[in-house]
Symmetry: C2
């Protein structure tokens, strides 16, 4: 079966996990009416189900093609993009002055989750446009904003991010693309960029490349990088696309997944570009896009995980093997306990990741839109903390859950053209791009945790302790058991956090050796916390929803949360083992 | 880089983990000389490295092709098979009376690990021949053995296993292929079988299919299944292949991985076949092949994991990104702690899985060859216990480790034709075939654990406690810490085992809901135990080996073993959560 967005679960996550109600009545979101949430999501769900999902296997089989006239998207993608554009989806969370709808970012992300779930290869195109919009909103001059934002927000034009070069991946500072100042205030950009998602295509009339490059006299490393806007067609005085610029796609990568999304090698030959933000501050500008993109990539993990769950659940209902007491004749494999365990694992982990991502998005909204500076600052700390967890934990989950989805399908899951197999291949990119998950872990322990002397995580743990109290106060035995697991898990996270803050300054290698395990533990505990909060909130809902949320939170508590205390040694002791044995193991 | 077998690590695993010395001096292994182990493995390593590994990407890109004359293997495979055959590798562990070398099975498995590591798609062909040989050795009539064994053992002919039909996968009892008795004592076999690995090819002059089918008057279900031998060409009186039989490949599956291995849809139309073993006892006969095949598939997980580790390690030495104190200029990513953590995880888990598989193989050897009945019986219990763990734990590990290998490669790992990506795709089949890992978990808790009232696992835990004592007796602080972790982990395994034995009779669904988690815990604890034993044994070796084994055992202890106690609730409590919420979650 193809993807069908679980709108009610998204709404539940927005309300019970992420606390979207905090955004009501804020001046920046004057257009936000809680009653519109369901209609908006249902409209997006239609596009996802009816237009994007049927094209997912098409994109996988056909891929994009590089022709003499540039890249051509897979069959049907251009029409789908037109439908997307005409639906006004690109501008959902963009201020109304630029043609957007002025809604909270968290809603735009919930919509993007559906588009990614239906067709991740397609979803990447608007995702990158959104990054370009955010960079221009934050760093563009009024003239740049006027020239580019309306077209990007309407979806008439799309955007890209150009960071990576063959020698400069995680180490962006090693990039070599040159930008030579011209007399008219613009720059001539020359160099080669790789791994450029939707770097070229025929679905929009223009493509706006945001490109990191180096001025001739720039300092070495990451402090000598500037950000440039390089349009495929240079806008004319009337705003319409004019002369072809010196940028083109010279190759497409042959990838394991997301075949529908062209991954381009881009060549810049004296391409005309304009500086965005300040000279040599390009990395900071790019981080505006990156933070948003990282959260969005986290949602790709959620989306692929959800799609994998749906297809596995559908298969488990159809496929009959073996017998069980409650069924006459061969039983659907759904009736076998082990299959339901697998499906529960998938569903609980997807829900936990969704909660983390949405909570991060609400924090991002509040960090801009809250009326008082204190709330904004606290929200910013929370957004910063949750961003690397949202990105890495959710995308690792996406890979694991897609793999479980293959397993539920048995031999059928290994057939290359089943959706389960496609999702397993598609999911694998998300832990890699927009900063590998290892980079996310280093960001979490270095900048987000130690950079606040642990205060960011302490604030989260204070919130978790409040959930523990609330769960206990219900006197529901199952919620009390969840509270016990959550409390012990939070204590483990506190212990690991304190160790990390203490160890990083003096023994950075030892601390960083535990960073990935620390991020994994953080995601488990915070995810379990949100699910527990959901189970409490669901007490006010119908019995089925109540039972569902309790089962998911309870299962997660007995698996991930119960395991949390035992995982602290991996963080605090594991690193020392291979650092001491490094010479014998690796010769370094 | 291509696969290069780590012979010294295999030898270490054979000696220190698996206890191959127990096989010295046994009458069945009169040909076994410990001094021959290294030369044999080195000779096999050459074939793996020089012949099979270079063909691995060829097989992936070209795949096998179905022509009017049958299936044609990928370019180079037929020559490689000839080299394999001429090397005498097929008969390594077959009794000398059938043309084999009479060596322990564990050695044949170590050799197969190398062939799988170099080229898993290729390795499947001899693996299936081996299964056919074992079935004939155990259940064939003297005439059948004389007619088929010499040709199979020499590798002139290959073998297949034909179980699955579209409606009969894990539920083998649902199969419909018919066997009608003929006057000459043979049978006419008709039906369709799917997922038949190396079901047809041109590399050998004949192919011997072992086929499960049903007599006209057979009882329903698995008690009405008989096993038949169906040659592609019917042997003539002089033993050479004669008339073409009524069996052919009518389709090849398009798979996500192991493209070099043809996965055939086989059609039987009144094909001439001969009964193997007794009527309606086919499943028991097939289990002779299955047990061996399951251990062999576990080794595929080890092999793919080892290959993934090697290619990731090589990439981490070459790829330069970022800077570290100890290196001038951009540093190979191997110097980053997080990359070394990933590599250590890969290496430790591969070593643990290899130890489990080899230990299982030594137990299999002892179960036949030990002089006294008591030792044979104990070895049999041990083999039975370890087989599902070897299969499932190792193949899940293979998938995880292949995924980590992709991650170390960054964007390059997502390119479809890198070895890292191929291994990620290839690895995914192993948890599925030869009994899904869910089936293995049910076999472990039902037949192997509860079937012995827990005695099988208690024997293993007694052994683990002995290792704890030995580790403590060294007074090496690191080994003492490993001992502490191991002791707590063994206690957790005991608790989970007792719960399982207690719960299975009265609440089977609840028990089976925890089966997969129980298997995972078992593998972690038993794997950690073998690594600890290795670290103790390595004290007698050179400092580098000593440091290496201590680092691997120590890292595994601080990660998998330390986490073990916290994973018991997933087994004992997790199931109840989704069973109670099943109606709300899944509608059943």
């Amino acid at each position: 079966m193809a993807y069908d967005a679980p709108v009610s679960e998204l709404v539940f996550a927005l309300e019970a996990h992420a606390g979207i109600s905090k955004l009501e009545g804020l001046a920046d979101f004057a257009a936000y009416d809680p009653d519109l949430v369901v209609p908006i999501l249902e409209e997006a769900a239609k596009l996802a189900r009816d237009v994007l999902a049927p094209l997912n296997p098409v994109g996988d089989r056909h891929g994009a093609v590089l022709t003499d006239d540039g890249v051509v998207a897979p069959p049907g993608f251009a029409d789908a993009y037109t439908a997307f554009r005409e639906g006004g989806w690109m501008g959902l969370s963009v201020p109304e002055e630029w043609g957007g709808q002025g809604l909270p970012k968290v809603l735009a992300l919930a919509v993007m989750e559906m588009f990614h779930g239906a067709n991740m290869a397609f979803g990447l195109c608007p995702m990158l446009s959104f990054g370009a919009i955010e960079a221009l909103l934050a760093h563009g001059t009024p003239e740049q904003q006027a020239a580019y934002l309306p077209k990007l927000v309407s979806g008439e034009w799309t955007g890209t991010m150009n960071l990576t070069e063959p020698q400069a991946g995680s180490d962006v500072g090693a990039l070599k693309t040159r930008a030579v100042p011209l007399d008219d205030g613009s720059y001539a950009i020359s160099g080669q960029k790789i791994y450029i998602t939707w770097g070229d295509h025929e679905m929009a009339e223009n493509i706006i490349h945001l490109v990191l490059a180096r001025l001739p006299d720039a300092p070495a490393g990451s402090r000598g990088i500037s950000l440039f806007l390089v349009p495929k067609f240079i806008p004319q005085a009337d705003g319409t696309p004019g002369a072809r610029n010196g940028v083109r796609c010279i190759g497409l990568e042959k990838k394991m997944g997301i075949h529908g999304s062209p991954t381009c090698v881009m060549e810049y030959t004296d391409a005309k570009g304009w500086l965005i933000g300040e000279v040599n501050k390009g990395l900071a500008c790019m981080f505006t896009m990156m933070n948003s993109a990282r959260l969005n990539v986290g949602l790709e993990g959620v989306a692929v995980g959800e799609a994998a769950y749906q297809t596995a659940f559908a298969y488990a209902q159809e496929r009959k093997q073996g017998r069980v007491e409650s069924v006459t004749g061969p039983a659907p494999i759904l009736h076998h306990a082990d299959v339901r365990r697998t499906l529960t694992t998938m569903r609980a982990r997807v829900a936990a990741a969704r909660a983390i991502c949405y909570a991060c998005a609400v924090a991002a909204d509040l960090s801009h839109a809250a009326p008082d500076a204190e709330t904004r600052a606290a929200a910013r700390v929370r957004e910063d903390l949750l961003t690397p967890i949202a990105k890495a934990w959710s995308t690792d989950m996406g890979v694991d859950v897609a793999s479980l989805g293959v397993q539920v399908h048995g031999g059928m899951g290994f057939m290359n053209e089943t959706l389960a197999a496609q999702l397993y291949r598609d999911a694998r990119i998300a832990p890699i791009y927009e900063g590998t998950n290892g980079i996310q872990a280093i960001d979490l322990v270095g900048r987000k945790l130690a950079g606040t002397k642990g205060a960011s995580m302490r604030a989260m743990i204070t919130e978790i302790e409040e959930t523990v109290r609330e769960a206990r106060a219900t006197n529901d035995p199952q919620l009390v058991q969840i509270a016990d697991r959550l409390k012990a898990a939070a204590a483990a996270l506190t212990e690991a956090s304190d160790w990390m803050v203490r160890t990083l300054p003096d023994e950075p290698e030892k601390a960083l050796a535990g960073a990935t395990e620390y991020l994994a533990l953080s995601g488990d505990v915070i995810g379990g916390h949100f699910l527990a909060r959901g189970a409490i909130a669901a007490r006010a809902l119908d019995p089925a929803q109540r039972a569902r949320q309790l089962a998911l939170a309870g299962y997660f508590a007995e698996t991930a949360l119960a395991a949390a205390p035992g995982r602290v040694p991996a963080i605090t002791e594991g690193g020392a083992r291979f650092i001491e044995g490094s010479e014998a193991l690796f010769g370094v």
